[in-house]
Subunit: 384 residues, 2 copies
């Protein structure tokens, strides 16, 4: 034990971490995989884990009990958050702040959403600040593309373009129209204008993490996640659940309903684009988030839109057919849901990856077909 | 009294208001003028005032004591905020939330800044939400151009421009260079990337006012103020104080130090631009903020950059000479302060007024010379 504590407190902590993960209900699966992968990370040998969730978290298999603490806690309570920082494993050096109230939950219960997505994050930040030490604690915060408002993404460049100051000539109206006619890629500087309580809460929490980082209280890394495909598990009522469901259910030999279009040949399937990444890719980037050099980040913001790629619903289904055959594709039935299409279609459909890749984050090769193959192999191996 | 209460609770409250003003120390002068002007506003007859400040606020002259309540309170305390909403005058229908910890104060004392600029605003919002009634309370919140980061204003369009999506052609690099070589006008959609705790706190509070408005808890109007010139009163240590000081002190027959350039002929005086509006103009817009139709505002944001105009330091001094003569201008001495110039120069220098004017906000005619003349007349009349 003393050796472990020494590692955590030594000047070498930049390559030797003890890591805290807090899991939300919805993020629990992701957090569990993260814990397992952190133990394999060669850059974090001898990692200890302080795991917290609203339900008792399961520690990774075969982990020496002396190297983890599993805590069931309501992180809206100040004393519960304080307790996380005072376990037998001592102060953490890396914090993964993953817990939260997701989109629909925050919209249905405003006060709960703010209490968890904003105030609980502030409690975590205050405890992290109080850790003190030779250098600030790494505070990895997961945010969401829900911070972007649909109308805003479309308006952003129109607003920027027509207003240059003399003596520079105004860009042509044609150029401005190009931007309004089709949303451009989201860059690190694209303005955020949330349309919901979840996105607003996440954005406020992002600003706190930024400001705590600017002041040197923590070393923040804010990662905005793409839509994760294929999510394992049972079908979910979330608006975007079908993006995984139309792959996951057929690969389990079950029927799935696609809420976009009326048939496989409906042009709507080509038109709806989604910004995605595989679970394995996102988990790799969670680990990388603890290793990147934050001094190389843009000034005044610790936000990174994680790498991903754009896929149409049609391309998803074609990949399913190519990997698993026509009979598997035939398990997908179509039942148009205009509301669902509108909401998913309002999300940013493409981000520029240059900045995130320049920091060291990764984008896996192989595109969507590779994602389907990996999930199919996982099902065959009994993993999902 | 009963008649006044009826007015406040009647369906006619859209044109008959009772108004609460909360004043910060720094905003106290502005708040005092606002209270006086509200009493003259023909659109708010029979207005009652609930005035609150950290020091006992002075009620406007000749106001019937039955029509105002003056409260000394620390608005970081929940019970103090609650008390504001439970005076003999009943629930307010319009709230001017002007109090705050200014730039230097918030930077020097992080926790105090967040407690007042964020948490106290949330307490006000919660009480306003609890007012309920037939329609949400108008919540007028003053914000600041400190929400903008200098580097960001310069980077914004560069970031937007080079990333159009196929099949559209990329704008030329020349166009991108135009934008990076000179900051463009700030529009309602310009991204905010604060560089200090004051700007960050104001931005977080803006997001809360936006979200409370989107949910229908309050009817928010967020107004970002230009630099107000000429501020009356004593010289202040604020970075931007000289923008008023080089006019105010000479018009009082006193010497003033200009921290920009070495002499009246220094090109630096031409280069430094500031975004300004007169106190009278800003107060007019404070009143207008209570009358505009918020349904005409952009979706998902209640933020308005108030109208103003750009003036160079040289133009300020030329206006002083034109209005008050060479001997008055000669009271200005020059002592270059590069830090001061850098900070003031990092602020946005120009905003586009189209959106604010379209909502009904006003920009006074006459430019800077008119501002100097008004202040000179005020000094002669013993007002300042």
């Amino acid at each position: 034990m003393s050796a472990l504590l020494a590692l955590a407190r030594s000047p070498l902590t930049s390559v030797r971490h003890r890591v805290r993960s807090t899991y939300s209900g919805a993020g629990g699966w992701l957090g569990g995989v993260l814990a397992t992968e952190l133990l394999k990370d060669p850059k974090t040998p001898d990692v200890n884990l302080i795991l917290c969730d609203i339900v008792e978290p399961k520690p990774p298999k075969d982990l020496d009990p002396s190297r983890f603490v599993a805590i069931k806690a309501d992180l809206s309570k100040a004393d519960a958050v304080e307790a996380l920082f005072n376990t037998k494993l001592g102060k953490p050096t890396v914090i993964y702040c993953l817990h939260g109230i997701m989109s629909r939950g925050a919209e249905d219960n405003f006060d709960l959403g703010i209490r968890i997505n904003v105030d609980s994050t502030r409690l975590m930040l205050e405890q992290a600040r109080a850790c003190g030490g030779e250098k600030p604690v790494k505070f990895i915060f997961t945010s969401s593309i829900a911070v972007f408002g649909g109308p805003l993404v479309r308006l952003c460049c129109l607003a920027c373009l027509p207003l240059p100051r003399p003596p520079h000539p105004a860009p042509t109206l044609t150029a401005a129209r190009l931007f309004i006619s089709q949303p451009h890629e989201v860059s690190p500087e694209t303005i955020t204008w949330p349309e919901g309580s979840y996105g607003c809460g996440k954005l406020i929490a992002e600003l706190f993490v930024n400001e705590y980082s600017r002041r040197g209280f923590v070393d923040g890394r804010i990662i905005r996640l793409p839509t994760i495909v294929v999510r394992p598990g049972l079908p979910s009522p979330a608006t975007s659940a079908f993006v995984s469901g139309i792959i996951r259910e057929p690969l389990h030999g079950e029927q799935a309903i696609c809420p976009i279009g009326d048939s496989f040949d409906d042009p709507a399937l080509d038109e709806l684009e989604v910004w995605v990444a595989s679970p394995e890719n996102v988990i790799d980037n969670f680990i990388i988030a603890s290793h990147i050099d934050s001094s190389k980040m843009l000034p005044y913001t610790r936000v990174v839109n994680l790498p991903g790629f754009t896929v149409t619903v049609k391309q998803e289904l074609e990949a399913l057919r190519d990997v698993a055959g026509q009979e598997t594709l035939d398990l997908v039935t179509y039942k148009k849901d205009p509301t669902n299409a509108r909401i998913v279609g309002s999300w940013p459909r493409a981000f520029n990856n240059d900045y995130s890749l320049s920091l060291g984050f990764v984008l896996h090769d192989g595109g969507f077909k590779s994602i389907v193959q990996t999930f199919k192999d996982g099902v065959a191996a009994g993993l999902y």
